[in-house]
Symmetry: C2
């Protein structure tokens, strides 16, 4: 299934930027970075549970906000894009 992960962290501090980098690296194990703090991950139920646990360890739960949206298996028609497509990860797969 496609899990969309949105991460709200203040990048005005070095700690915030570090956490964003760590969260990004973790999410990239399972998918791609489609915006600066938005990640699309393909996960099964077990991977999703593990990823949530791992991300909770990386973020500052007193300062940051992390949201997960389950788009299911038939997600291709559920995503639309306007504007530029940034290349956050040159080695990653193409953005849908």
């Amino acid at each position: 299934m496609l899990i969309l992960i949105t991460y709200d962290v203040s990048t005005s501090s070095a700690e915030g930027r570090r956490r964003l980098t760590r969260v990004s690296k973790k999410c990239l194990d399972y998918g791609q970075r489609v915006q600066n703090s938005v990640f699309e991950c393909i996960l099964d139920t077990t991977q999703f549970r593990r990823l949530k646990y791992e991300l909770e360890e990386l973020i500052d739960t007193e300062k940051d906000s992390l949201r997960f949206y389950n788009l299911g298996d038939k997600y291709k028609t559920k995503v639309e894009h306007l504007g530029i497509k940034h290349s956050y990860d040159m080695e990653g797969p193409l953005i849908l």
Copy 2:
């Protein structure tokens, strides 16, 4: 249906911050701001088409990225949250 809107804009420039404010105001006509540049809107098909058109007029399509995710009507079990819940809009409805 719930449409999740994620907006990637550089807020290091005054123009970028202005565009974010305008996009935010437009999205708040239909829903709530759950993260700095993430909006959850409840829309029917006609409203969704109109909102996409209106947002395209507000953003800089050469610089910004705007993505739409359709969570459908049965979205309540599809959203999970970790960490802090920012109050971006004090007058808005509570975050799920």
